[in-house]
Symmetry: C2
Subunit: 271 residues, 2 copies
């Protein structure tokens, strides 16, 4: 018998998913079927959600519901479903009201609003910047907050794009070429921006795995090539005393957060 885990939100459900997933991974060896129910923002949709939850309950183990619903009336409808209801929102509103000595507005849709045009524009500009200055193209390092460097497939591109979307950071990236590695020097056009450079590296076995997924049995993915590139790149990083990070065990989120945390770059966005 399987157990369905529902993530219910009046918004996208991403917060409920992330926190709920992190809680469920604490229980090893159990299988869960995840279902996200986003935009539950009306009585109709709340009742439809209850029907889906009850259907799952009748076909398997009692479901678990992670809810970030803000409106009391919708939450109460959901609490009528046959499930363990975990309320990620109102559980904390009471203690906050007492601490702040204020009533909360209990109004939905304030979480990810884009009322603030400036913030929205920052996000778009940062994303466009990361695309225009990806993989050595563009080269507008003068306007970058940070320039990631490293060998191919070390995680530069997704990290730049994530930093743009999540933090509004203008992140460029430059892939070290074989010429750069042989010369053991930064390319001249990066020299003026040494203070913005952040280096990424990775363990050879991991890089081999990743490159093999892309081009199986290629020279590019060979142990010899990977070892050569990583050694030469790391020698270059230490020659220039660049801050660096080993991405082997890191998710994209973690790489981005560690770069911000280490380099002291100011984020331009908050959730």
């Amino acid at each position: 018998m399987s157990r369905t885990v529902f993530f219910v939100s009046d918004q996208t459900g991403v917060t409920a998913e992330t926190l709920g997933h992190s809680l469920m991974t604490q229980f090893e060896g159990q299988e869960f079927r995840p279902v996200t129910l986003p935009f539950v923002s009306s009585l109709d949709k709340a009742e439809e959600a209850v029907r889906r939850i009850n259907r799952a309950a009748s076909q398997g183990l009692r479901p678990i519901v992670f809810s970030t619903l803000v409106q009391d009336d919708l939450r109460e409808i959901l609490m009528g479903a046959n499930a363990l209801f975990l309320d990620l929102f109102s559980t904390f509103v009471g203690p906050l009201e007492r601490e702040l000595d204020a009533r909360s507005t209990h109004r939905a849709g304030r979480a990810h609003g884009m009322a603030d045009l400036a913030a929205y524009t920052t996000r778009i500009e940062a994303t466009n910047f990361s695309l225009a200055n990806d993989d050595g193209s563009g080269g507008d390092y003068a306007h970058a907050d940070v320039v990631l460097i490293g060998v191919s497939r070390v995680g530069k591109t997704p990290t730049c794009v994530y930093m743009a979307l999540q933090y509004g950071v203008f992140a460029a990236n430059y892939p070290l070429t074989e010429d750069d590695l042989e010369a053991g020097r930064l390319p001249p056009r990066l020299e003026p921006y040494r203070a913005k450079l952040f280096a990424l590296t990775i363990r050879p076995e991991r890089l081999q795995q990743i490159r093999n997924e892309r081009r199986p049995d290629s020279r590019y993915a060979s142990r010899q090539q990977v070892l050569y590139e990583l050694r030469a790149a790391e020698a270059l990083f230490s020659r220039y005393a660049l801050p660096w990070l080993d991405t082997t065990e890191c998710s994209i989120e973690e790489i981005a957060s560690r770069i911000l945390n280490t380099s002291g770059i100011e984020r331009r966005l908050r959730p």
Copy 2:
């Protein structure tokens, strides 16, 4: 007197920030200073966090701490700080243990791990795909899960990139040109992929604002041009009966989530 709100995590802190921010926006008219303390994963770092919180307490109103710490020993140290401690994690572990009749592992770092190489690769491939097929370039629509179309600055690019990072979806985008709009037809190379098209539109006033931030007082941002483009685009969308979304009030997260929700595209990733 200001009040500092801390987001404390053994990971990036993004979940604590998002949920905490959503809770704090329920209290209007109050000013908070947000501080994220990520990677609190050792006794030393937990004690350093307590010192920072206590410093903030001595300089302002009693701080609020949103914590997603998983390890009991670290959480207990944080609970000694002079603050309202809101525990987004262990609050829910007890009820889950009872429901599942199982003990949780209480082990940190399981949330955003990239143990799964396949998932990591999917994410990178999807991100690279969105970059390679952005703004009408690339044009590898055969491998796209979805192709967003719309006029310039309607939100296509950041949405594609977000869908790649968050959901592992292969999203391309195509900006409708003046030629397309005049012809009132899809360009021939998009014709075979009509079933993958998803259209974005926006209210004229909003588009004017956004374009004005980019090119103030340009023809591009003029009311006349914006009205013409949007009318022609919407006529084209209805001619082809494309699914569409008005992005005026939407965040990037919301656009992405609504597209998935409406189109039934299968996501390739979960948190």
